[in-house]
């Protein structure tokens, strides 16, 4: 059975479980039609020119895991930023785990997509925001067709959420081949602030494919600080679509740390819909082996006086393949834009590859747009300098790589995340570091 047929028959199974007369199910039906037409993106599609999804979609995935697995806090503690108090929305094989989570409905909602979709109380918000931002492409539509669970965050006006919200998806490996399709909706009201940590983690070495879609709405003067930690098992792959809509004076900061996973594709789309918004897209990628990480970013400036900053630092070793596809689109009315994009890459081995395509499409004349892309190596003289002072080569290299990635690390606002990322990098580079960045 082809993947498409498998999907179509699974959809019938889904219809037995959900309310087929609901508003959301109409959307699901439409999305399924779109998926039937669009299919899985191929290499001949410009957006997937350098990333082949073939090896992911030739398997027969289980879409609805049966068994509920009990996992104790101790099993997963190390994957959480457990040193800090946080709201937690935790899923095991795509199913919400209430005993591991800590949600709230007090003043603002940090809860489940399934309850938001089924509870009439949230109908207004769902109708206004759900699936309004996600674009129609094969994989997003596939997610929309099967979406029923994920995190639902709704922060009202004038609230600064006092602690970070951690959204973690675990897969247990009870199924040999599991595909999950989480769907998150985040609505941040005027003048509000929120910090979110998102992670997908496989607990076994069975094949896992996650096709995730997140929609984020940042109202006027709001601040969203989002961290994606991607350090999954080498058998797990992630296709992530994150859509962000920003209103006047809002700021959305997105950090993506990609260290693990077999194939990771990050589609980040920012739509600036109000004046004086600021978008920050930062990323650090350090991969080796046969890993493949693809960052595909879009910043669409549709209003004047806005800014966007992108900074991606990437290091590739062994047979790793990296793709950076950054696009800045400036509409005719979006005057006085300052758009900046920087993509620096280090190729450590001769067999690693980077394919970069930083694009600018500009229709306004009074703008400052620039992008820079470099591919190079560590400075031999700097290495020699350190070795001459008694620092072993391995450590010296690690130091240089830390320095290379540091500008992104410095913009991390949560200290615990910063030290965790620092440790992950140290692990990745195989060194013990005696300093805290």
């Amino acid at each position: 059975m082809s993947f498409k047929d498998h999907i179509l028959s699974s959809f019938i199974a889904l219809e037995n479980e959900v309310d087929t007369n609901s508003y959301v199910h109409h959307i699901r039906n439409e999305a399924l039609n779109d998926f039937e037409q669009l299919g899985i993106p191929q290499r001949r599609d410009e957006a997937y020119k350098y990333t082949s999804l073939k090896s992911l979609f030739n398997k027969e995935y289980v879409l609805f895991p049966k068994k509920e697995t009990s996992i104790s806090y101790e099993d997963i503690k190390k994957y959480l930023v457990h040193q800090i108090d946080a709201y937690r929305v935790i899923f095991i094989d795509g199913i919400y785990s209430s005993h591991l989570s800590q949600t709230t409905h007090d003043k603002f909602d940090v809860c489940l997509m399934s309850s938001a979709l089924n509870n009439p109380k949230y109908a207004a918000v769902i109708e206004k925001y759900y699936n309004r931002l996600a674009t129609k492409d094969g994989l997003t539509s596939l997610n929309t067709a099967f979406a029923k669970e994920g995190a639902y965050l709704h922060i009202n006006k004038n609230i600064a959420v006092e602690k970070p919200i951690e959204i973690v998806y675990f897969s247990t490996g009870n199924e040999a081949q599991l595909m999950t399709q989480p769907r998150n909706l985040v609505v941040v009201g005027e003048n509000s602030q929120v910090q979110v940590i998102e992670r997908h983690q496989s607990l076994s070495d069975n094949a896992v494919l996650t096709n995730s879609v997140t929609e984020i709405y940042a109202a006027k003067k709001s601040l969203v600080d989002w961290y994606k930690i991607q350090n999954d098992d080498l058998s797990a792959s992630l296709i992530d679509h994150t859509f962000v809509a920003q209103q006047d004076h809002s700021e959305v900061r997105m950090h993506t740390f990609s260290f693990g996973g077999k194939l990771t594709r990050n589609n980040l789309s920012f739509y600036q819909r109000g004046e004086r918004c600021n978008s920050v897209l930062n990323g650090v990628t350090i991969i080796e082996g046969k890993q493949h990480v693809d960052h595909s970013t879009l910043v669409h400036h549709t209003a004047p006086n806005c800014e966007s900053f992108q900074e991606y630092k990437q290091i590739f070793d062994e047979r790793a393949v990296g793709v950076f596809n950054g696009k800045v689109l400036v509409d005719k009315i979006a005057q006085k834009i300052n758009a900046y994009q920087q993509n620096n890459n280090i190729l450590v081995s001769d067999t690693s590859t980077i394919n970069a395509k930083p694009q600018l499409e500009i229709f306004a004349d009074d703008v400052r747009c620039s992008h820079g892309c470099t591919i190079g190596q560590l400075d031999d003289e700097a290495l020699f300098y350190m070795q001459a002072r008694g620092i072993p080569k391995k450590e010296a290299r690690a130091l240089l790589m830390f320095a290379f990635a540091n500008s992104v690390l410095e913009s991390v606002k949560i200290p615990e995340i910063k030290s965790r990322i620092t440790k992950l990098i140290a692990m990745k580079l195989g060194v013990e570091i005696g300093f805290d960045l």
Binding site: Q335, L347, D350, A356, Q359, E361, I362, H371, I375, G376
Partner: protein
Amino acid sequence: MSKYTEEQLEKELKNKEYEYGFYTDMKSDTIPVGLSEEVIHIISAKKNEPEWMLEWRLQAYRVFIEMEEPEWANVTYKKPDLQSISYYSAPNSKPKYDSLDEVDPELLETFKKLGISIDEQKKLSGVAMDVVIDSVSVATSFKKTLGEKGIIFCPISEAIQEHPELVKKYLGTVIPQNDNYYAALNSAVFSDGSFCYIPKGVKCPMELSTYFRINEGGTGQFERTLVIADEGSYVSYLEGCTAPSRDENQLHAACVELIALDDAEIKYSTVQNWYPGNAEGKGGVFNFVTKRGICEKNSKISWTQVETGSAVTWKYPSCILKGDNSVGEFYSIAVTNNYQQADTGTKMIHLGKNTKSTIISKGISAGKSQNSYRGLVKIGARATNARNFSQCDSLLMGNECGAHTFPYIENSNSTSKVEHEATTSKIGEDQIFYCNQRGIDTEKAIALIVNGFSKEVLNNLPMEFAVEAQKLLEISLEGSVG
């Protein structure tokens, strides 16, 4: 003129009419419109071509009919109907000229209007010239002087007759017949073009130059240029283009192949000023050109282009850096105005060790035009110590135009260094203010900034062309300089 502001400059740009839009009434020999195997047979027969050449063309045609017109470029246009084009139009039926006296006086008049009076240039600038009008080469000057050095510079149709071994050996080696849609079309129907061979160790004593002009209505220009620089030789080649103003779109699909053997150097400069269409975007030339060069060991190919004309431009002069230590360069200024569209750039393919490439691209868009840079830098796994530097700057004038960059970078070598940077901006008020502050009035400041913006490229043009290019750069700086 009191004060020269950006608005005025913009206005001037908008109103500037195409200066070369005259039509020369000459007897010409045009074959019926349409494309078929038969047409190719006719073209080949008219050219007295040997059997292998006809076979080569037919091969290309067979590949061509299987292909589809590509749509990925960032341009929109009504696809030319290839069946309504005449694929052969020769001015006058006389095949060759021995001296200028024999040339049709009207043709000479054309040259004068173009500002390239052959005899004058012969004496003054020492440029050897090949003029291609409606796809047939009409004059090649300085043949004797070049002949003494062993340099062959002649129409490609002549080269097919007289130097078949060279043509056979190199034609289609850089741009194979099946390379792309328009290259295949060109391979099938090309009617003339220039051929140049520089023997071993010879430094060509003068600039070689070709002038292209589409004259007859409803014809397409499909010229084919082949430049071969043998070991240790050097040549600088210039190419200029114009076409008369017409309401319908004319198609120009040329192929240029450069071959730089060991230690050779080729400098190829283009000033493209095909008719861009009128201010409403009507008419104009579709310029769909394939240009590519291959570099062997220690050789160098340098492309310099000034693109001011054509309704739609679609070209990527490229370098395949095959030999170790070879160097590729690309310097480009593309100016688009009114409804012009340009999608241009380069490909640098690094295969050999220690290969170097430089890309400097300057785009200036005004009116309602769209200007795109599209480039590829590819570093192969064996291209140790490869080095690339790319810089793409765009200048926007007015808020109805667009500037785009699509750089592709593919690197699979850890010892290589690749740098790419791009900026888009308008003439900054702060820049003008800075100049004003130092006693330079706005008029001069704009001239200075635009000049400075394109200087890196203009500097790379040979002297004779640099002057013309500056003139063509539609940014008319008259009244603002000096």
